[in-house]
Amino acid sequence: MLAKRIIPCLDVKDGQTVKGTNFVNLRHAGDPVELGKAYSEQGADELVFLDITASHEGRKTFTEMVTRVAAELNIPFTVGGGIGALADVDRLLSAGADKVSVNSAALRRPELIDEITAHFGSQVCVVAIDARQDESGAWTCYLNGGRIPTERSLFDWAHEAQERGAGEILFTSMNHDGVKTGFANEALRRLSDALSIPVIASGGAGAKEHFRDTFLLGHSDAALAASVFHFGEISIPELKKYLQSEGINVRL
C-alpha cells in the first residue's frame, strides 16, 4: 500500500537552519545537510528546505546547500522559498532538488505552473498555499508568507493549480500554524476530496494524534511539520510506530 508520508520542514537562512538547535545530538544542528541526514536516518519520508533568505548572496548559498543535500541524501527533497521564475526552478533542479515548491509567484502569475510542468513535468511542481479562514468560514489565500491577503479562495486556487499541472498541493492553514492544536482537517478533507493530486497538510502539528487525525479525518496524503520535530517533541520513529498501531500505513 502507498504509505502516508511524514515530512519535516527546515527553514534555511544564509545556508543555516533557523530552527533546530534542540535536535538530537548533532554537533552541527545548524547545518541543513547534517540535519537532513539525521531526519532521513530516523525515517522521514521526504524533506522540505525553505529558503527564507532575502538577499541575492543568500540565494547563492542556498543553491550550494541544495547541491550538498543532493549529494548526501538518498530520499526525495523539495526546495522552496523565493522561486519567482522558471530560471530559479532550473537552477534548483540542476543543483539536484527533486521538487520545487512555488507559492506567491504562482498566485501572482499562475502561468508559472504551466511553464514549470511543461519544462520539467508535473511531478516536480508542488504548489504551496497559505490560507486563512475568516469569521464567515471562508478560506482566503495569502501572499508573501501570509502577509498580504488576496481575493482568491483556497479551493478555487488549488483546483486551478491542479488544472495547470501541479503535482501536489501543500496547504498551510494560517489559523492553525504554530498553535499546535492539530491540522485544519475540515478544509484538508474538502481539498483532498475535491482534488485528484496528493495534498500535504501543514500547520498545527503538536501531538502524534494530530498526524493520525489529518490522515484519517483530513484525508491528507502527507503531513509536514517543523518545530515538533526540531525540538524533539515528537520523534519520527515513535510517531510512525504510533500511526501504524492506529491502522495507518507508514513506511517503517
Binding site: S40, D45, Q123, V124, D193, P198, H219
Partner: protein, 234 residues
C-alpha cells in the same frame, strides 16, 4: 568500472549521478554511441513525457543504440516505460525491448491520487507475489498480453525463478521504495517485482541484459542503494 548514464531531454538525472557517487562510482553522462557501447553498465533514468523523450532519442539515434546494448542496462521510471513497446502517454511508440504496453492509471476511488507519489511496497513473497487483498485482480484485463506470450498462471503467482532476480536477492518482502509516476507497466512475463496501486503493476522488469524499475532506487533510501549496488555488481 565504466558506468554511463544516457543523456537526453529527461529531467532529474542528477540524483542518479549523486547516488552512484555515494556507491563509489563516477558515472559519465553521455549521448555518444561509442561511449555508451563501451561502458560496463548503462543507466537510463529520468522523468519526463514519453513522446518528447522518444522524439529526442530518435533524433539523436539513441533509440537504436539503447536497443543494441549488450551490457547490463537499467531503466528507471520513464526509462522503464520507454523500454516498453508503446506508451499511452502521447500515444508513443517506444523502444520495444519489453513487449508490453504502458497504460495510464485510471483511479477507481477518490483516495487514489495520480501521480502515484510516495513510498510503496515491492511484493515478493518467496517467489510468489500477492496483492493487498490477497488475490490477483484480473477483471481489468491488464494481465492479458495481446501477442500470446502471457500464459495464465495460478492466481497470485508468477514464475518463482523470475522473482529471485539479481537485483532483489535477499531483499525482504514488502520493502518500501519511492515512486512518482502517472503511467504504469502492467504485470507481464518479464515482471520481477509487483506493486499495488489502483492495479497491480510492474515495479520492475528483466529481460536478458535489460533491467528496469518503475520506482527510483536513487531516492529509495537504503533499499534503493542496495538495488543499485547489485546492479553495479552484475
Amino acid at each position: 568500472m565504466k558506468v554511463a548514464i544516457v543523456k537526453y531531454n529527461a529531467g532529474n538525472i542528477y540524483s542518479v549521478v549523486h547516488a552512484l557517487k555515494r556507491l563509489g562510482v563516477e558515472p559519465i553522462l553521455t549521448d555518444d554511441a561509442a561511449q555508451l557501447r563501451s561502458a560496463d553498465k548503462v543507466l537510463f533514468p529520468g522523468q519526463g513525457e514519453a513522446s518528447q523523450a522518444m522524439g529526442y532519442l530518435r533524433e539523436h539515434g539513441l533509440d537504436e543504440v539503447i536497443r543494441s546494448l549488450t551490457q547490463p542496462v537499467l531503466g528507471i521510471c520513464i526509462g522503464q516505460q520507454l523500454m516498453c513497446r508503446h506508451s499511452e502517454e502521447g500515444n508513443t511508440d517506444c523502444l520495444g525491448i519489453f513487449p508490453v504496453d504502458v497504460l495510464r492509471f485510471r483511479p477507481q476511488r477518490q483516495e487514489e491520487k495520480v501521480p502515484h507519489m510516495g513510498w510503496n511496497q515491492l511484493k515478493m513473497d518467496n517467489g510468489q507475489w500477492t496483492t493487498d487483498n490477497g488475490h490477483l485482480e484480473t477483471d481489468n484485463g491488464h494481465l492479458e498480453m495481446d501477442n500470446g506470450q502471457w500464459t495464465a498462471r495460478p492466481e497470485g503467482t508468477l514464475d518463482p525463478s523470475r522473482m529471485d532476480n539479481e537485483l532483489f536477492g535477499g531483499m525482504k518482502n514488502n520493502a518500501y521504495v519511492y515512486f512518482v509516476h502517472s503511467f504504469y507497466v502492467p504485470v507481464c512475463e518479464f515482471t520481477t517485482a509487483v506493486t499495488n496501486y489502483i492495479v497491480p503493476f510492474s515495479a520492475a522488469l528483466h529481460k536478458d541484459n535489460f533491467y528496469a524499475t518503475q520506482f527510483h532506487p536513487e531516492k529509495s533510501g537504503a533499499v534503493g542503494e542496495e538495488i543499485l549496488r547489485k546492479f553495479l555488481e552484475l
